[in-house]
């Protein structure tokens, strides 16, 4: 097994990250942060890329908008892909554009057949623009919208089948969404089509600060929760080892602290790999 568990790259961790020689380590960056003409940030990514595999995680394609992906944004992403040669390119099953405004969040929509046609078309346009398949991530949901014609799993499975994209399973988002809309998280985890799963995300969540609310928020500001680790083991036991990322975007601890969580995922992946490998005598 080559790639095991990775970390979301933070510029302040550059020295530790580049020097780290942990087996199977890789890094993921938010693609939009590196869509710049030049300078130290792009140089740091270039230096990191010379030492570790990199995955580009988009937060701005808005593939569930009822419009085609922004041509200029897609062109910038394609340029970054050519520069970095990432191990994966991903973004979210969500929309973000409204009346010229860009929402830096992943907005929900009714999962209708018509919406599926649109997302299949948009993912196709992205993949044509990049010249490679992308991975699509399940977002955190905060409300069960009326008007769904299919479950999220059905929608993502159809999307993968029809567009040829892979899936990025965010186990924390599965847990948060299931808790927020009142469905069974383990059943959701069991529903992802194993062949399509190309990457896994693990992150922390926090309770909604509004005391009248019992929602969970996908805050990426805490360690991965025990329930999420349990769901992760369940997923890996079924689909086998897949590159797994520890995400942390707020209250960022020292590199070594993040590596402890990363090593925990690494150990689970190595065990799963051993369990699957044929025994040689």
């Amino acid at each position: 097994m080559t790639l095991t568990a990775g970390l979301g790259f933070k510029l302040e961790h550059f020295d530790d990250a580049s020097m780290c020689r942990a087996q199977g380590l890789w890094f993921e960056v938010h693609a939009e942060n590196y869509m710049v003409d030049g300078g130290p940030r792009l140089a740091a990514l270039g230096a990191l890329r010379d030492r570790h595999p990199i995955s580009l995680h988009g937060v701005g394609l808005s593939i569930a908008s009822d419009t085609a992906p922004d041509a200029e944004h897609l062109r910038r992403l394609a340029a970054l892909v050519r520069r970095v040669e990432p191990i994966a390119v991903s973004d979210h099953l969500a929309w973000q554009k409204w009346d010229g405004v860009h929402h830096s969040d992943f907005l929900p929509f009714p999962r209708t057949r018509q919406a599926l046609d649109r997302v299949v078309d948009n993912v196709g346009r992205v993949q044509d623009g990049l010249g490679r398949p992308m991975l699509v991530e399940n977002p955190s949901l905060y409300v069960d919208l009326p008007g769904h014609e299919m479950s999220e799993i059905e929608f993502l499975s159809e999307l993968a089948k029809r567009s040829g994209c892979g899936l990025l399973v965010d186990v924390n988002n599965v847990f948060v969404s299931a808790s927020n809309i009142g469905i069974n998280a383990a059943m959701c985890i069991d529903g992802f089509p194993a062949d399509a799963v190309g990457e896994i995300h693990l992150a922390g969540h926090s309770p909604d600060p509004d005391i009248a609310s019992n929602l969970l928020i996908d805050s990426h500001d805490a360690p991965v929760a025990d329930e999420v680790w349990r769901l992760y083991r369940r997923l890996i036991a079924r689909v086998g080892p897949r590159p797994t990322l520890i995400e942390r975007d707020d209250h960022i601890p020292p590199f070594d602290t993040l590596m402890l969580e990363r090593d925990r995922a690494h150990a689970i992946l190595v065990d799963a790999d051993r369990a699957r490998a044929p025994v040689h005598v």
Binding site: E32, N33, M35, V36, D37, G38, G39, P40, R41, L42, A43, V59, G60, S62, A64, S65, D66, D70, H73, W95, Q96, W98, D99, G100, V101, H102, H103, S104, D105, L107, P108, F109, P110, T112, Q114, A115, R118, Y142, V143, D144, L145, P146, G147, D208, D210, S213, L215, I217
Partner: protein, 252 residues
């Protein structure tokens, strides 16, 4: 009779109609997009907060000294007002906030702090320099003594300069260095700034009027001879000024 100012698209899809209504509800316009009561209202609030927080965090990252001048609470209030007035138009938040210096000009709570918009303008130049294209800075030694007065010096892609009516440069430098003594010694006067990026580090320094005259001439494509005359007329000492600009990596 049709409404010419608000035409209804005839073929608008269900998805587009939903997103139009959801976006309007996020922006606080119109009724909630779908039945959903308090659960939907809370979800909208969470999405609104997440989106606004990302934009406000980006603004705070790009304007650290303005934030320090205001203090965290006052900056948060100001950033919230700016994000409502000029929300991000694209997903690259590291470039967000180009309109913030102009917004501050009319921001009533800071009306007495007339230097704050200038400090913000300086911080914007810093962001532009940080993300500008790479280029090798012009080497003074390679240039040698044989400076051709007909030559045109090209500014490095990261080079920015401007003159302020306030001592914005001294205030910014003192804050960056955490130098309270320097902050106490700032005197009220117009100042000009040069922002450059020789190698990968952004440099910010105070420059004088002749240097501004020289750089302005270079930026508008004038020859070295014309630029030198402009600087000399502003009372500049050419060799010293030129050495400073070369050391700063102002040219490519």
């Amino acid at each position: 009779m049709s409404d010419a100012t608000h035409p209804q698209p005839v073929n608008q899809s269900e998805l587009a109609r939903f997103q139009q209504a959801f976006g309007a509800a996020l922006a606080g316009q119109g009724a909630t997009p779908v039945a959903g009561g308090s659960a939907l209202a809370r979800a909208l609030a969470i999405h609104r907060n997440t989106s606004a927080k990302a934009a406000q965090d980006a603004l705070a990252a790009n304007y650290p000294v303005v934030r320090a001048l205001f203090g965290d609470d006052a900056f948060s209030a100001c950033a919230g007002a700016f994000v409502s007035a000029e929300p991000p138009r694209e997903p690259r938040l590291n470039a967000y906030g180009a309109g913030f210096p102009a917004f501050l000009q009319d921001y009533a709570p800071a009306a007495e702090l007339s230097y704050v918009p200038d400090v913000a303008a300086l911080e914007r130049l810093h962001v532009e320099a940080l993300f500008a294209a790479d280029a090798t800075s012009l080497d003074g030694l390679a240039l040698g003594a044989a400076l051709d007065p007909e030559a045109v010096l090209r500014l490095h892609p990261a080079t920015r300069f401007t003159a302020f009516p306030s001592p914005a440069v001294g205030i910014w430098l003192a804050h960056r260095d955490g130098d309270e003594a320097a902050l106490g010694e700032v005197v009220w006067r117009p100042e000009a700034v040069l922002v450059t990026r020789p190698g990968l580090d952004v440099r910010v320094e105070r420059i004088n009027a002749p240097a501004v005259a020289f750089l302005s001439a270079c930026a508008s494509g004038q020859t070295l001879g014309v630029a030198a005359t402009a600087a000399a007329e502003a009372g500049g000492d050419l060799p010293t000024m030129f050495a400073m600009l070369i050391t700063a990596g102002a040219f490519a």
